[in-house]
Amino acid sequence: MIRARLVASAALCLLATAPLSAQDGREALIRSLEREPAVSFEGIQRTEVTSGGKTRRAAQIVKRRAPDKLRIEYLEPARLKGELVIDDGQHLRRSISSLKVIEEGPSRLQRAQQRQSSRIRALRAGKTPVSFVRDDTLLGRRVTVVSILPARPNRPVRTLWLDQLTGVALRVEEKGPGDRTSVTTFERISFNPVLGDAEFQLPVPAGVTVVPEQLGRPISPQRAEAIARRLWGGLPTPTLLPPGYVLTSAHQLSFHQRPVIALRYTRGRDDLSLFVSTAAGEPFSAPMRPRLNVVQRPVGGVLVTLVGSLPPPQLERIAASLQHPAESTRLQSSPATHSHAR
């Protein structure tokens, strides 16, 4: 009798620690979701985001202590170097030293835990299409590669390299919508390190302000265009931009409960934000602080605000080139540039 129990227990233990199943992407993903929160690790990651022909790269040290602590310390790029993101299970905080602020929002890990069972149910019900791609090896570890198709259009297709023993995603690839791709991959990872409490605390230094997390959320340019078409008949986009500026991201936020669409253009370290809304406002142009100017003007039935490091006359010229929403039928990822705008 005792022997039978021992055999049954051993069988259960073997099942619990069995590698993620090959050939069944959905089961592999479910087991990953079940196991990953119980795993502690630390490693170095690299992330590449490509959009509009421009690639942005980051490198970071990632430390995870089960079940609900996460620390990300940026090594690259220069503008993010030294910045910390810490999720302590209650709050997600990000220190932005250049602005002397700490951005604070609810814990993403805790939210993920709270949703874990419903996510697993949705996976089992087949609401999230998952397909098995292949078994592979990454960093000397066996991985199962699965692909998750978006449930709705204009969402990315994700491919995950799931460590078969721990369920941790060693590589994540996102493709779409449009030409946007992002890849995060571990260069090095070690499991079960000793991580103290201090690693997951973010003290607020004197002179640093804590602000709620960013009000906006990233969306695809295609989605930004769709929203603007529904709300305003179209999205005003500049036909004149200084050489080198490309559309790198789009965001949706709200002000006074009214939607605002933000388009982000970059050239090296220069940034230009174009905000579109129906908020009340008058035309104006003003320098806000060194290398930060604002130009605002109505275009058709919407208010367009340009914020960037370009001098006000150039912002004025860009604003003057904005097409009326009704005339703007398609958002171009790389608007026409004009040399004399610079």
Binding site: I96, A151, P212, P218, S254, G281, E282, M288, Q296
Partner: protein, 184 residues
Amino acid sequence: MWKRIDRACGRTARLLGEYLDGTLRRPQRRVIEAHLDRCAACRRELEAHRRTLALLADLPRRELSGDFDAALSTRLAGVQGRSGETAGSRVWFSTAADRYLRAPWPSPPRRLAPAGALAAAALALVAWRMQPVPPSPPIHPPASSAYVATLVREHQMLAAGSDLNATVVSHNVGGDLLGDAEEE
């Protein structure tokens, strides 16, 4: 408990602009004030908004120069002088209007006086506007200063790599890789 507080923080953050504009309804205002009383983070955010608004308020406004009236009067007088009428700008306007209104059957020259005055004023304005305009000082709309402050902050956050950071964070939260978080 933590979730309720965070939701309240999110709501407060969204309504801070209206709160500072004084456009919130009383019940909403009370809810925001009650939350601000107990949430240090939101009080700090309120102060940050106030500081940005103060920065905007400190920007120079476009105002008419002190001698604008006198300069306009002189120009009007000059135009008037060339048309052979009495100099004296505003006095001339009122005199001409009085004369026109007093005369039940104005003589042809008197009947033309208001039209002449209007033409003179238009000429004066055109002449004034054709002069080289010095670079205009920045102006700002008081009604949208909270909006601009919010956009400036958003721009700075984006400039600080928020979108790249958002990708890195989402790639490190296993559950979010399913993509349902972005459906909210």
